[in-house]
Symmetry: C2
Subunit: 117 residues, 2 copies
DNA sequence: GTGTTACATTGACACCGGTCGATGCATTGA
DNA sequence: TCAATGCATCGACCGGTGTCAATGTAACAC
């Protein structure tokens, strides 16, 4: 994928750690959308399958997730909207990939739990 | 009284990375509950406030979060059930603390996004 | 053209979850 | 004892969300 692109993302400022300093309401809204995207077991498995296989088409997900096709399409859309995966249409198939930078943002948001206390 | 209600969780073994290998349905259900707990902007700010102050009582949260008292109580309960915070009652007040180990589990679940390109 | 395949979209359903007023239960202090 | 405080619980409202059948839209094969 294009490494030449350094994730613009986040209109409400950058995404610092939730634990290092109080987050603003805008940042909280942004991050909540991210976490909510992973707040569903089907989407977690979907992300896991994509991450494990590197690339997966929806037809494969349909089998693995044991859900109807519209349901799988719905979940991929949620993850795409959250920026966690991206799809590329090749012929008749859409191949899904993970967006590691976006996952890193989530992990960074959880960093710094030990600095105080 | 110890409001630490420590849920069973970990039904399908420990909580490895979602991205390193396919997660089981049980693991996905567990982790989804965790992520869903942070899938709300009010709870994210709540966690952030607790982490920043080290210890906070509900009365302080009530002001900072600008929500009614039952609402704040609801959100603290969700975070406690998720194991992300714990409360200790001293006198009339309940003091909330973060559970860093639990946050670490979430961060670990997001590790390994780069193993494959 | 016709038909098939892969996926998105729509609409409808049921259920979940955030919110708050009212109420209950402890604890503190007068 | 009584009043006040801090928090949990209950009940209700309502918008959000997961689910799937039906339909639409491309892309391919013939």
């Amino acid at each position: 994928m294009a490494r030449t692109k350094s994730i613009p993302l986040e209109g409400g400022g950058c995404c610092p750690s939730v634990l290092a300093a109080p987050v603003t309401e805008a940042q909280a809204t942004d991050l909540a959308r991210l976490f909510a995207a992973l707040g569903d077991p089907v989407r977690l498995r979907l992300l896991s399958l994509v991450a494990d296989a590197g690339e997966v088409c929806s037809c494969d997900l349909l089998e693995s997730l044991d859900r109807a096709q519209p349901t799988v399409s719905h979940h991929t859309k949620v993850l795409v909207d959250a920026g966690l995966i991206e799809g590329e249409k090749r012929g008749r198939w859409v191949w899904w990939r993970i967006v590691p930078e976006r996952v890193d943002e989530m992990r960074d948001a959880l960093a710094g739990a030990h600095v105080r206390a």
